[in-house]
Point group: D2
Chain length 415, copies 4
């Protein structure tokens, strides 16, 4: 550990050191970009890259859009070059002909992004750049193609093997906790006291993935409650006056909130690793833990019922649970996937639909999106691979007998 | 720093934890490879990747060669698919058509390598795998092409922005120092006492680049002596009985040895960043440091003289210095690059030829390769970018007046 | 650093490990105390010590008082034993006779406290125990004597050489920052946002002393503002909307708040080291810093003026500054020390009275205690030793010409 | 951990920072000592203390002796002051009278040592100073008394609660490993390769106690082998070509070497905590571990047999084991304690005599001191407190039935 700890301490110290670089290159960004992809020296490359990133950081949206358009057209592939190098390679497969094909088949904007990344601290800046690109480039084919290049590189850089799982606790640095407050997307954290209630008790945990090149930025985090029995109410779980439970008495870990932090890492998936690794780590630490479930919102329920012309009796909890079960098992998109986005995520991970609860989220948001119903997805560590397989290959949703029965009852009763 | 240190400590601890995976998949590696590139679930993908890496580690050279050949042919590009997706993209440039082209133009073996890398600790295993590939695949076009895929990914993963520069000292962990001893390629370290002499005195320094995913493996390191005046003898510099010099009296930093550690990272260049960053860091720490030079071997000298039919008078130090200067400035490969590999490296970095010395390396190796002559390359931090430009664009070697004069004298005297 | 960092990480991890001790010893605390001072085995000693500390933590004030009284009488010195061992030692000075005298002259309650301290985490518990003793034992001679034993041991354990100075920043762990908020005694921190304003800007710093055995507890901390010129208003210094100043432009470090954190460490002085070490460290980091001053309250001013029958004209800032200067230079206790407690602290440290300001603290507290006036004490690092000497040996207060002139004017004008 | 790790990193960095102190005070050490005990300012006190420590470090033995003699006489107690303050206290027990007694009863040389300790890094210097005192002061009553003052303070500073247990491994810093090699006192480590064999295999462990103020200096360390079954040969245990054993198969931890590192901490006992804490930690990590034993030399055996006129038949292993058992159970000093010093240590810790082996240490040293016999002392964690009690209160040695039977057989056979 010693060296590693040490390793990383350097990164930190460097961040605060002013690079002794000379004056900024005042050419327009488009010219700097051309100079950077042609640079032969790492030294001049680094200076150019730093200047481009500094420029970009001060651009308004119009300028950013122009910048992206310039890159996407000027540094695109040349189809003729692809064809001729491909012909050469097919005719004479060799190191040289393959290298020529590779060079032609990859747009130079990928090399641009790699060279920008050589600047210390650039990885975070590139993630923010892609967030801008996603926002500004929506619906513009050339920019959507450019985004595929970013995404291709990010998938390689944010490879699971490079990520580090860290507990987040009340002993974590305040500037990290600041971001947990800012990024919580499911059940808002409304103050430092609220945060403390989610982190300090021994029966509350939080874990996040980090990348070594962005040590101040959590990528995704999950909040966990350790309890006895599968819970059916988020308000009870987060009650201010609840008593903490001794961890040697808990049997269930509840993943009650999972939040992505970086808009610029959209579609780079690491959420499913997170839940499974956290479940494994908790199981190793607390042998008494037998059950790993979520307590999840059902965001699409109300809308889907309306679309289907189904009505429910909000005074009848059983009716609501039946319809929620029906929706989760039968509600599908036009492509046959589960209609509910949260269901898609957990079922795709290999979880199963375990229980549905009425009056489980009595907040305005909960009432509005699902009439207050919530669902537990169960992560059975022995079964997730099998469940995932069943779901992906046969499109089949695995559910508990209880939920299946509820859904069938919904069909019969038509409510 | 706190979080970062913490971050990395995790990596370490995990290494020693046994993954609670089930029994190994007994299918042949080639089948596992096919299964891995087709896997839809991260969980099953991880298990397959771990099994493939474990298999590979136990293979003999024949099996490894077969493995590489299988990958290079089975997971190569399909030229027809490249052509048809390219046509589609040219006809209708869109996100979808570009994505299809990207998928076709990249051989699936790149995705294989990325998926293998998701296993904790896999990065180092892949670096060793490439070392095997370089060794076994030499001269085999398909395997040399496969190597370009490894190299392409490694250039992205070992991007300068992801590397961390660390001092190596007598307070470094023994298992790291073990590797410094093993990897020193220029002036062998023959014992722990020898190592201690190079690390413990305050006027001796060592720095290495590390990658966060290979925290136990230095990638490249440089050894530095802090002295007064530019030195002209490696034996004097490393003398067992020399006295350490107070660091507030030194004016010159001598890079007397630079060694690459990982055969599997051949052609992934980070040496020039290393010297320049170390020079910058030392300049910041010790304001008295004014001069940054190497004390370098001239490995090609004896051979080149023989080839050229030039003879020297080993009893005349001046004659030897003249011929060494002549060789360094005029000795060229058929492509016009400097004949001497060490010269190519430092001149390509923007250094200049500063001084040549006779009787500078009196070891057998030094006598044999260069008649005992050595050279100082000077890193003038203000000039390296300019020197590099001159060298790269005009093929012109920058040298001090003294060395230029020596080389000219060689021409005149023909010795 | 590596080993050290590592060292300490252990301490932390141990805190969370449940000691595998057997059942608690149910004898009354007084009996456990007797058993502990007589224990011959470290193992049984540790168990007894842990039981005593656990007992004490649950006692009410009556029980604590009884506990202290029991210790102070049962484990006091035996005057006859002191006399006879002293006679022996005087007659025959030897290792044995000296040892016997040492044993007799030290009350066994000191050994009790040392043995309690052997339990992991006990140091903090003993500091809290002394806080109770100070509170409950006031005016009871036997308990005040017992406190001298605690103080004697604490002075040894909290020796300056064992303390560690650490920056406190917005990157510090939240549970430490919690304590900064709780312990701030001069200018209350009213929210996490207020705290952030004092820690996050680059021109704001905070430093604390820690003891390695109480890593979660700051002992004392100082808050520093980096500014241009000596400031004269605490509200301006802490204004919510102020702009942060680039640290390469600051010339003055202002120690605007210094707070002791542990009631149980009363009279164990480390405040003066803190200011001087922080000043030294900042001077090394920021060569532009030339001036180190406080911006201090004058808590005794209003009361003293009233006692002296002096009145001031709150509409005349000059009159107020004159009287404040007069008070600071001439207001004395019956023993001749400065009447103002803050003045005593800084003058005893070797600071000098540099400037007085009216309307400098417009809070209710500031108006009430000093009519809003404040004072800068100047720490001239070259002069502090000399100033201290002058103050201690001659009782002479060093002040700037400006303040001296003001004080003299006060005498003349009688206002 | 984060803060703690951070805490300690500071200590380290400071060590390398030059204190910006002025010129050294050139008065003789004896005068500096007088000035230091009278100093009122911490700043001047620190400068004096640093000068005294620097002076001492350069003294030869004569000067050191003079220095010790000066301190021991000039800063001794004043018996008259002790008597009169004691009378006062007895007459009027109060805080003031008790304080006066405390001040008189403690020699000022204790305050001197505490003030010296305020200098960063001084703790180690004081430990070395006491090593000199022990060496030079032997047999001189005044210096032996002075040593009791050092010892009194060290017992407080090196209190078990302040020590940190750390694993020592092949990943530990080389400068620490250097000291392990130097300090190994039982079975010499003859090279770095030998050290590696004792640290790197997973079935070999080493643990040391450290003090936070001496992070580079282990205080005491123990080497552990994890094996199957109780071993009976040190050469087999340390064989160069042995195979490492998977740690999930081991059932026995063997403490085969325990070494004190600091001559200056003689009589400050922490050895027994070390073994017991290591045993507890290993038991928690490896649930398969059931037996904790030593494999210990019997250094006094040969000499004692000679003294007793007993002879053994070196060709008869049984005879040798019988006599060794007899010696361990019956060999006593004039005061009735076990004759063997290693036996005294482990029996005093609560271990029992478990097994004796012939031909267990075939080195020259082993042959010479015990005819090659060795002994296992067993640490039964459930029984150590009881065993200790039996040993201390009744002087009774606990032994296994096997050893008891062997010892009885020795009596019968007279061999």
């Amino acid at each position: 550990m010693t060296l590693l700890a040490d390793l990383l301490s350097t990164v930190f110290e460097r961040r605060y050191r002013q690079p002794a670089k000379g004056t900024k290159d005042e050419r327009p960004a488009a010219e700097l970009v051309q100079a950077l992809v042609r640079a032969t020296s790492e030294t001049s490359g680094l200076a150019l890259a730093a200047d481009i990133l500094a420029d970009f950081a001060t651009m308004d949206d119009d300028a950013k859009l122009a910048f992206f358009q310039d890159i996407s057209t000027e540094l695109n592939i040349d189809p003729e070059a692809v064809r001729s190098t491909l012909d050469d390679y097919e005719r004479t497969p060799s190191k040289a002909s393959y290298r020529a094909f590779m060079a032609a088949a990859e747009p130079r904007r990928q090399e641009l992004i790699r060279r920008l990344n050589a600047v210390p601290g650039a990885t975070g800046a590139l993630v923010r750049m892609r967030a801008d690109l996603l926002r500004l480039g929506r619906g513009i084919p050339a920019l959507e193609a450019l985004d595929l290049d970013f995404r291709h590189l990010f998938a390689s850089w944010f490879n699971r093997g490079f990520l580090v799982l860290r507990p987040i606790s009340w002993e974590s640095p305040a500037h990290i906790l600041d971001k947990i407050i800012a990024y919580e997307a499911v059940h808002a954290i409304d103050s430092w006291d609220d945060l403390r209630r989610r982190l300090q008790p021994k029966d509350r945990r939080c874990f996040a993935f980090f990348h070594p090149s962005m040590p101040d930025e959590p990528l995704i985090f999950v909040e966990v409650a350790l309890v006895q029995g599968v819970p059916g109410s988020i308000q009870a779980l987060l009650a201010e006056d609840r008593l903490s439970m001794p961890v040697d008495q808990v049997d269930t870990a509840v993943f009650y909130s999972i939040s992505n932090c970086q808009a610029g890492l959209a579609s780079i998936s690491f959420g499913n690793s997170l839940i499974k690794q956290v479940a494994n780590d908790l199981a190793a630490e607390l042998p008494g833990l037998k059950t790993f479930v979520t307590l999840s919102p059902i965001p699409g329920l109300t809308g889907w019922l309306r679309d289907k012309g189904l009505e429910w009796d909000t005074t009848d909890p059983d009716s609501m649970r039946r319809l929620a079960a029906h929706y989760l098992l039968e509600g599908k998109t036009s492509k046959g996937a589960p209609y509910d986005p949260v269901a898609r995520f957990h079922l795709g991970n290999g979880a199963l639909v375990h229980k549905v609860h009425s009056d489980a989220d009595t907040s305005d948001k909960g009432r509005s999106q699902s009439g207050g119903t919530m669902v537990n997805y169960l992560y059975d560590l022995e079964q997730v691979a099998q469940n995932h397989e069943t779901f992906v290959t046969k499109g089949q949703i695995v559910a508990s007998a209880e939920v299946t029965t509820l859904a069938e009852a919904a069909l019969r009763s038509k409510t």
